[in-house]
């Protein structure tokens, strides 16, 4: 560690990380649209750069110091108090890495796109950059800016490259977009209210740490209302019951890359926001709403798991399963203790990798066989052994098999939750049974069983198509076998942020009513 450059000198690392895909995007803009190969390679290069950079950040992050590192702060809109403030800590660094992993893989997952290639990759790169931005922003305004940047490219991508199954892609796209935007409208109100409340002492700010530091300016009543707004906004983003109905349809309609990014990282912004903004800034409100949120979370876990049982379309299965898994994240956030929060972030990472792998595999199945209907598929392990491996890995990760990163993160969550909400926890853990049921059914019906001649023409994934499998497979098992690499990192974020102390004070705080 000592040999590596110090954090101060690295303040340009994050800007470069986010600029890499944008530069690639600009290059592509000026490429002729026939040069599809070049376009793909350029975008892959761009993502590779930022992946390497974020990996570098991940490895050189000083655990001992903790807190925000690789920071960069530029006053942006003085009259609002907006700063272009970037930085990462133990909470956001894994998410940044996740974004780049999935972004990089998504390029390869869409390697076979042949319709309007240029536009596709332009939009994809914008999308990835936007998601990245939300995780490295240290300023609420910038965070929100980046978050809403991603909405429109997604819409266009779904509409153009999406697929119409149970619902038309137009419907899916519009639903996805408007649902999230209206959620973000409430978020915006809450954000403004928070901003005004924090600016009451004369110097307005959007900086997360400042907002968190000005606890005394937020009355409990205010915190309750503001946090409720956060829940509506972020809750619908992380697809918490009953705000989840956009996500299965959306994923089903979206092209593979979008599904990967959306399920993989985008909806994690909800969880991330709830932690950064909900818990750190509005702990009292969080405490007030925690029981309700926990209940909703458990409902989403079981409810979505059950519904996944009844699905016929692969993407719907994974869509609902992601709703179900996000339930664990939400309940962990509601538990309001460091262990659970660590687990939550870890789970977001784990689920992101898993979902991305799942969607990429499904994407390959779909683009080769042109169907996602489980009943029509079967015995694909004969024709596509490699794809089958990827599919099984994803499935096993999804049902939380030990050895995959998903298990240990889920376990951490349970460990954090079981004291706070024992009943919820037990119910939630019961979810793993149903998860196993629908995952195993899907695997069995899609991959195993007698060889089907109509699929003999399918070719196994090869070449660039293997990238998602290799990348995610490696991450899933590596982080699963050496969990300290991930969870330890998150742990430094949680501890150095002084979350424990905040929650301590909150737990003493008399709320009246429920407490």
């Amino acid at each position: 560690m000592s040999a590596l450059p110090t954090v101060e000198s690295m303040s340009m690392l994050l800007p470069f990380t986010i600029l890499a895909p944008l530069v690639a995007m600009l290059l592509i803009v000026f490429l002729p649209k026939e040069e599809t190969k070049t376009i793909k390679i350029v975008s892959a290069m761009g993502m590779l750069v930022s992946l390497v950079l974020s990996l570098y950040a991940f490895l050189t992050y000083q655990w001992a110091e903790g807190g925000m590192q690789f920071t960069l702060t530029i006053p942006w809109v003085p009259d609002l108090g907006v700063n272009l403030a970037l930085g990462v800590d133990g909470l956001s660094l894994p998410m940044l890495l996740l974004t780049n992993l999935i972004g990089f893989a998504s390029i390869y997952a869409s390697w076979n796109i042949d319709k309007r290639v240029k536009e596709f990759f332009i939009l994809l790169l914008i999308l990835i950059a936007g998601v990245m931005g939300t995780f490295i922003a240290r300023d609420l305004f910038i965070f929100f800016l980046f978050y809403e940047i991603v909405v429109i490219p997604i819409y266009i991508m779904v509409v153009i490259w999406g697929s119409t199954k149970r619902v038309t892609k137009e419907y899916a796209a519009m639903k996805l977009t408007i649902y999230l935007l209206i959620g973000s409208a409430f978020l915006l109100v809450g954000m403004v209210a928070l901003y005004l409340a924090a600016g009451a002492n004369g110097n307005p700010t959007f900086m997360f740490d400042q907002l968190a530091a000005r606890q005394d300016l937020y009355s409990p009543a205010f915190q309750k209302v503001a946090f409720a707004l956060m829940i509506i906004g972020f809750g619908s983003l992380i697809s918490m019951f009953p705000f989840h109905s956009w996500s299965p349809d959306g994923y089903a309609g979206a092209p593979t890359a979008v599904s990967m990014i959306h399920a993989g990282v985008l909806k994690k912004i909800g969880g991330y926001g709830l932690i950064r903004l909900g818990i750190f800034v509005l702990p009292v409100g969080a405490k007030f709403w925690a029981p309700y949120i926990a209940t909703l979370a458990v409902v989403s876990v079981l409810y979505a798991a059950f519904i996944a049982l009844a699905q016929k379309d692969l993407k719907y299965v994974v869509g609902y399963s992601s709703v179900s898994h996000m339930g664990y994240v939400i309940i962990a956030i509601a538990a309001l203790n460091p262990t659970a929060v660590t687990g939550a972030v870890g789970m977001m990472f784990a689920h992101g990798v898993m979902a991305a792998l799942f969607f990429s595999m499904i994407g390959f199945i779909y683009e080769k066989s042109h169907t996602r209907n489980i009943a029509d598929l079967g015995g694909l392990a004969h024709q596509m052994p490699r794809l089958a491996i990827g599919f099984v890995i994803a499935g096993m990760a999804s049902l939380g098999l030990p050895g995959t990163v998903n298990f240990i993160t889920e376990f951490t969550i349970f460990m954090g939750v079981i004291n706070v909400f024992p009943v919820h926890a037990v119910l939630g853990i019961a979810g793993i049974i149903f998860t196993a049921v629908y995952i195993l059914r899907t695997i069995a019906n899609v991959l195993f069983g007698p060889r089907r001649s109509e699929w003999d023409h399918l070719t196994d994934i090869r070449g660039p198509e293997l990238v998602p499998l290799v990348l995610f497979g490696f991450v899933i098992f590596f982080a699963g076998i050496f969990p300290n690499v991930l969870l330890g990192m998150i742990d430094t974020g949680v501890t150095s942020s002084g979350l424990a102390k905040v929650l301590e004070t909150v737990s003493q705080a008399k709320m009246g009513g429920l407490f």
Binding site: P78, I152, E170, I178, I182, S184, L188, V189, V192, A193
Partner: protein
């Protein structure tokens, strides 16, 4: 009254007046064949005036003359900049369109400038009669412009509708003015404010409502909005653009002055603000909801501009520097956002002779630039970051919430997200539909410049709003 140099403060107005007359004369004297140069002439002279006005904004001195009948403060100059910029962009984007006009090409620019002059007067006016005169100068020029396509029944229908309704509304406005004059013995806003007194007599109440109605008509505030869509749809597209952008802004300039000075007397605030809040809310809701099922681009933009008026009202109601700043900021970016959209609309109208949304089908293939510009403009109108509209809305609603009007902020934000629905359905048509058999629409020259310029400004302000924000703040402070 500070000492002022008559020339310095009135230069833009005079210049525009002269220019307008010159163009008129040219239109009459020079044979139709040799009128190629009119558009460049207009553009460059406008450019010059705009440049001077900008200089004036930063370095000119405050002045009020004819006993406060005419103000020369940064607020006024800010709006003059806005009008001139709008006029410039409209002229730039309408070059091809005007060339295709069957007759009366010459007068077009002259009238445009006359309208601009009227707006500038409105912005500067500190006295009710002056306001009225400016307003009528603008409106009457617009009557003609709206009905400019003499052979097109729709155009003339729009014209006559606008005329009748506009005249009626201005009559009502005028009646209100007369009452105020009677009550206070003066039409100077400052003195009126002084003499109107705290409590509302029925007469003063009537006067206030009449004033509100008259101005509300111009900014198409629900329920005075009904004329808008028809006129927007029927009028020639560049005119629609100018109508939507500049005349509305001018009306707002007046409204702000009148509201802050007179209407906002003690008795007014409690009830009147509630009333205005309700009106603003209704405006946002109705405008956005009706826009959803529209099939004609210009009509859709008309309803969206009604909704935008609602957003702007919020800023006024906040009656704080922040609020006014928000209004000014938003009005300016609104010019660019709308101008981008209308430039594309003009182009389509020019090339395909229609402004139905379905005629945008496959525009992505036929003209990528136009598509991108249109998308950017619409999204900016919808207030999606990183485009300017987002910052503007943020200013407006944060100002309102700062005054404690939370509900209006909810409505505003939710409505603006709903508005994304119809904006996106336009985007969808452009990107998704194949548009078989529709012609290519190459973008060249001035209109291309307009498109690119507006888009760049929209994005630039969205990413770095500080400079414009500073200007808006300066202008807003000059009022208080």
């Amino acid at each position: 009254m500070v000492e002022f140099n008559f020339a310095t403060v009135l230069t833009p107005e005079i210049a525009i007046a002269v220019l307008s007359l010159i163009l008129l004369a040219i239109g009459l004297l020079i044979p139709a064949g040799a009128r190629k140069g009119m558009m460049p002439l207009t553009v460059f002279s406008l450019l010059g005036v705009l440049g001077y006005t900008l200089y004036d904004f930063f370095y000119g001195q405050e002045a009020a003359f004819l006993g406060g009948m005419y103000m020369h403060d940064q607020f006024a100059v800010y709006f003059k900049v806005l009008f001139l910029a709008a006029a410039l962009l409209v002229v730039l984007s309408s070059g091809g369109y005007v060339q295709k006009l069957p007759k009366h090409r010459g007068e077009f620019y002259a009238l445009l400038l006359a309208a601009t002059l009227g707006m500038m007067l409105m912005a500067g006016a500190g006295e009710l009669i002056t306001i009225y005169v400016g307003l009528e100068l603008m409106t009457i020029s617009f009557y003609i412009l709206v009905a400019y396509l003499a052979d097109d029944a729709r155009s003339s229908e729009a014209g006559i509708k606008y005329l009748v309704l506009g005249a009626t509304s201005s009559a009502i406005l005028l009646y209100g003015i007369s009452l105020i004059y009677g009550l206070t013995g003066s039409t100077q806003l400052v003195e009126v404010a002084g003499r109107l007194g705290g409590e509302l007599t029925p007469a003063s109440l009537l006067a206030t409502v009449f004033l509100l109605a008259g101005l509300g008509f111009k900014i198409s505030l629900v329920p005075f909005h009904l004329w808008g869509p028809d006129i927007y749809e029927g009028a020639p597209t560049p005119v629609t653009a100018f109508l939507a952008i500049a005349s509305k802004a001018a009306a707002f300039a007046v409204l702000i002055r009148v509201y802050l000075l007179t209407m906002n007397s003690q008795a007014f605030s409690a009830t009147g603000q509630t009333l205005l809040l309700v009106l603003a809310a209704i405006t946002m809701i109705v405008g956005n909801l009706i826009a959803i099922p529209q099939t004609n681009l210009k009509r859709l933009l008309a309803y969206s501009s009604i909704a935008q008026a609602g957003y702007l009202m919020v800023g006024i109601i906040a009656e704080s520097t922040a609020g006014i700043k928000g209004v000014l900021f938003y009005a300016m970016i609104y010019v660019f956002a709308n101008m981008g959209a209308f430039a594309v609309a003009t182009l389509i109208d020019e090339k395909q002779g229609s402004s139905e949304i379905k005629d945008l089908a496959g525009l992505w293939r036929r003209s990528p630039l136009a598509t991108v510009v249109m998308t950017a403009s619409l999204l900016s109108l919808a207030g999606i970051p990183p485009l300017a509209g987002f910052v503007g809305k943020f200013y407006l609603f944060s100002a309102a919430m700062d005054q404690g009007y939370v509900a209006i902020a909810y409505i505003g934000f939710v409505m603006s997200m709903i508005s994304v629905y119809y904006y996106l359905s336009v985007v969808k048509v452009m990107f998704l539909a194949e548009g078989e058999g529709l012609p290519d629409v190459p973008v060249h020259g001035a209109i291309k410049f307009t498109m690119v310029f507006t888009m760049l400004i929209t994005i630039a302000i969205g990413l770095y709003p500080t400079p414009l924000a500073q200007m808006a703040i300066a202008a807003a402070q000059s009022l208080f």
